[in-house]
């Protein structure tokens, strides 16, 4: 792979501004329980800059509070953990997130994770999108 400028090299690893990204829906949704998602391309396991979720179904007993832009539950509904593989083969959890909102996104602090593991609270189903480059 060749890049013409240093800027191009930086853009390869860092996510662009949000306005220059688009959402790519994950197939076979909605998702529930504990699962790992990937978006492989060549030798990269997750070729994306982040992911977004939107809660589709939730149990009636979950307390929900309206908020500006999104609503909030009275408990964590989505947990996410990124894993990276080091040069020696070790797999480490590199970034975690716990969310109690009906919709949120997570941009990867480090590029090219090995996988994104997500767990939803009981009764919660979510739709997912990758956040990828606009083009």
């Amino acid at each position: 792979m060749s890049v013409s400028t240093a800027t191009g090299l930086v853009e390869l690893f860092l996510h662009p501004p949000l306005g220059l990204m688009r959402l790519e829906p994950l197939p076979n949704g909605p998702y529930a329980g504990l699962f790992t998602i990937t978006r492989p391309r060549l030798n990269v396991n997750v070729d994306a800059y982040g992911f977004r979720y939107l809660v589709q179904d939730f149990p009636a007993g979950y307390g929900i509070t309206p908020g500006p832009g999104t609503n909030y539950f009275d408990r964590t509904v989505v947990s996410a953990a990124l894993t990276h593989q080091l040069l020696d083969g070790a797999i480490v959890t590199s970034q975690t997130g716990r969310f109690n909102s009906t919709a949120a996104y997570l941009l990867f602090n480090e590029s090219f994770p090995r996988g994104v593991t997500i767990e939803t609270a009981p009764g919660i189903t979510v739709n997912l999108w990758w956040m990828v480059r606009l083009i």
């Binding site: 007993g61 307390g63 929900i64």
Partner: protein
């Protein structure tokens, strides 16, 4: 305005477990809280150390905080179709509370 307390039916999140709970008689009359008395004398009392679902809020006129126990997940205050409820303040006046937060139940006893 009624005085005292009455027994109301508290319906758990799973809709199968129902308990009898002592409720302020004024609160019982507010339909948006979801209280009924249907066959309440046949039910077990709400388990100790449990926490019923509640809505919390603040008065837009006085700033007073308030809360209300919600008897069922289908109650208007819980599903959001009504966002205000009345409380009796400690100075004897009535106040209208706007809901800002909902917190789900926690039952300490196993039930089917």
């Amino acid at each position: 305005m009624p005085r005292g307390y009455v027994w109301g039916v508290y319906v758990a999140d799973d809709f199968r477990a129902r308990f009898a709970k002592l409720v302020d008689a004024d609160d019982f009359q507010q339909f948006e809280r979801g209280w009924t008395s249907n066959a309440v004398d046949t039910l077990e009392v709400f388990p100790q150390q449990s926490r019923p679902r509640k809505v919390y809020g603040t008065s837009a006129t006085t700033g007073r905080k308030g809360s209300a126990v919600i008897a069922s997940t289908s109650a208007a205050l819980w599903n959001g179709s009504v966002r205000e409820f009345r409380i009796m303040a400690n100075d004897g006046t009535a106040d209208v509370i706007t809901v800002t937060r909902r917190v789900g139940e926690r039952l300490r006893r196993g039930h089917l």
